[in-house]
Amino acid sequence: MSYPSNSLLRVDDRIRKRNAAETRFKAYGITAIVIAVLALAVLLTSVLGSGLSAFRQTYLTVNVQLPEAKLDKSGVRDPAVMRKVTTIGYASLLRDGLLDTMQDAGITTQMSKKDVAKLISKEAPATVRNHVLANPEVIGTTMTFDLLAQGRIDGFFKGRVTLESAALDGNTSPEALMLAQELKEAGLLETRLNWDFLIAPDASDQRPEAAGLGVAILGSLYMMLVVLVLALPIGVASSIYLEEFAPKNRWTDLIEVNISNLAAVPSIVYGILGLAIFINFMELNQSSPLVGGLVLTLMTLPTIIISTRASLKSVPPSIRDAALGVGASKMQAVFHHVLPLAAPGILTGTIIGLAQALGETAPLLLIGMVAFVREYPAAFSPDAGLFGEASTALPVQIYNWTQRADPGFVERASGAIITLLVFLFIMNIIAIMLRRKFERRW
């Protein structure tokens, strides 16, 4: 079909070329979005894929005899005497218990007793010992314990360890895996949900199956408290000054430029600051949530100030005029009228700042939070003061686990990331809901 030369319907080569360029350009845009979304999807699936199994754990059901002759030589349940029995003593009880349980179930094996005992986690004797010390009355009875299986056995049931890889592995063997399989069929071994992952403290290099996030979550919680208590009032106070009271001069200009720069300073620099000022100069405790909280406070402050100032700015001047007009002082106008109206925005900004602080790792490495800590830190102790006891934090625990040799720790690290992301998700949802609920259009 042909049209007169000035018709709108005529399509010439040039138009065709230009339209092709338009289509290409759009395709670039779509490609960019697809790449970004795909990256997110791959990231999340890779983390979820390797981390979800951290919330499940393999346990052996073992009947253990707790003979008085071995566990309490005093016979009067004297704690001092009972404590003398070390985990090594308990380990042999567990080994015998497992062998007996296997015999009862009619399972036989060619493996040596020592190798069979390796099915049980090295952490298990300590668990049993603690249970016995806490409940001395169980001595002399036979108790059924759910004991952690060794990391490789656990990995076998989660697909991380195979018979082939076990053949090359000094810590386990194909026979051990086969035996575990038999135990599972006999109902003596089970992989099930494991909330201990969120509660238990970290465990040493050889025992990924026992490692948990308890201390790290507690430490992160303490730090968030410190950040909230310090950063929110300081941030709000300084925003109020800058936005409502400060004269516009060189000095306030300097503060403003300074704040926007602080927001862009690499986080590791704050770590150096914390190390030099808080630890070396002020001699606060290394690894303590107090120092961590202080460092994160300084880091979060610019974020909170920037968002608080934005929400103060969004309160229309007519509100201030109205208050001043009935004879309120400027201070009263701000505190009685402007601040309450800006509060939802300030809270949203604060939560987002906290979420940022919760995920921050680098500065915490420098102030010693990477240390191996198994004791739950107390919020206050006479020796260490407020939040002064050594602790670790969620993101640092993740880093810590990535540095361990045992592949079981990759699962733990990914599981910890899921936990961290869940916390962040909840915080962001709260922020979004706050914003939705209180959003005001002037």
Partner: protein, 394 residues
């Protein structure tokens, strides 16, 4: 008496002042509050702050300044008691307590905004101090111009920053090469083309990327991207055997920077007036011609600013490179090889058992200062450009 106990006492004293001052003022006018120059509450506030602030100031300055811990608590208490007496005595009906209270509150607000300044001063001082110590032990020329980095504990370490800078810049370059086009195109598509449905899905998805902590990206590099690149690219193509590499860290960092670039440039595109777009479309330009020839050139300064900010982010990023780039200081062009960065070395020199007298530890402060100066320069410059750009269209 410990300092914290004296601080608690001072707080108790200021609470007392807060309660006593209004009562005394009211007693003097036999309970007729209309005869007071200010609200009773203001009397309390004024007196409470008069007691609280000087005591806290002394405790804080004395405590930080290392003042004798045996005397300091008593000074704090003494000051609080004197202030209590004075402030309650001052609380007569004609005292305009509101003015006093408000000037004291203003002081608190000013002090709070000083924290930001103090932070910067603290950053600079802490690093400057240790850096001078470092340069007393180690020649600054060797630090800045040597191409060798091999710390050891025999005392003959080579601590040249160049290989670290090279790794930093190489990784940042790859990250920007990945993030800038993708971020820009994503921002362009979302703001100029996408319908509300796509926007309501893609925008939050990209924002989620921004909310993910860097340690997560680090693990992603270590566990997924590194081995993938090694098994499917580096090894078959004969470029090396290392999972941690410049490319691994660069790509993952690029993913991290996508939302940063796209949200910044989104703001910048939105600042370009609609009238310019209308002008171009009204002449019969297609959307893409309008974007490429009118919107992008108009937004160019802003985009440059955004890219510089992203570069500063990339240079200062730590966890991704710690887990993804490797620890070997190397001057090489092969992107599949492990290299290391300034931030990685700050972490490795300052964690573990550190001896604050040895140059191997102190070098971390010199590295930190260098990093700070570079990023500060980039930030100041970028923020300046972006600010000028915004003013142009306001």
């Amino acid at each position: 008496m410990s300092l914290s106990l004296s601080v608690l006492l001072a707080i108790a004293l200021s609470a007392t002042a807060f309660l006593m001052a209004p009562r005394r003022a009211l007693n003097l006018v036999s309970g007729d509050r209309r005869q007071l120059a200010s609200l009773p509450k203001q009397f309390g506030l004024s007196a409470g702050l008069t007691v609280f602030l000087p005591a806290m100031l002394i405790a804080l300055v004395g405590g930080l300044g290392g003042f004798s811990t045996t005397i300091l608590p008593y000074i704090v208490i003494a000051v609080a008691v004197v202030a209590l007496v004075v402030s309650v005595w001052q609380s007569r009906p004609d005292f305009i307590a509101r003015n006093r209270a408000e000037s004291l509150i203003t002081l608190v607000l000013i002090a709070a905004s000083g924290v930001a300044i103090l932070t910067t001063v603290g950053i600079v001082m802490s690093m400057l101090f240790e850096t001078t110590n470092f340069f007393q032990d180690y020649n600054w020329k060797d630090f800045f111009f040597s191409t060798e980095w091999s710390p050891n504990f025999r005392g003959d370490s080579a601590l040249g920053i160049l290989p670290l800078l090279w790794g930093t810049l190489y990784i940042s370059f790859i990250a920007l090469l990945f993030a800038v086009p993708i971020g820009l195109f994503a921002a362009i598509y979302l703001s100029e083309y996408a319908g509300p449905r796509l926007r309501s899905f893609a925008k939050p998805a990209i924002e989620i990327l921004a909310g993910i902590p860097t340690i997560v990206y680090g693990l992603f590099a270590l566990v997924t991207v590194g081995p993938f690149l090694r098994d499917y690219f580096a090894t078959p193509m004969g470029f090396g055997q290392s999972a941690s590499s410049v490319l691994t860290a660069g790509l993952v960092m690029g993913v991290m920077l996508i939302p940063f670039v796209s949200s910044l440039s989104d703001d910048i595109f939105n600042a370009v007036p609609q009238t310019l777009r209308d002008g171009s479309l009204g002449l019969g330009a297609t959307n893409s011609e309008t974007i490429r020839q009118v919107v992008v050139p108009a937004a160019l300064p802003g985009i440059v600013g955004a890219v510089l900010l992203a570069a500063s982010r990339a240079i200062g990023e730590t966890m991704i490179v710690v887990l993804g780039a490797g620890a070997a200081a190397r001057l090489s062009l092969n992107p599949f090889e492990a290299m290391t960065t300034v931030t990685v070395k700050i972490v490795s020199q300052l964690t573990g058992d550190t001896d604050f007298a040895s140059p191997e530890t102190l070098v971390a402060f010199a590295l930190g200062l260098t990093l700070f100066v570079i990023t500060l320069g980039l930030n100041v410059f970028a923020l300046y450009i972006v600010r000028k750009y915004r003013e142009q269209y306001e």
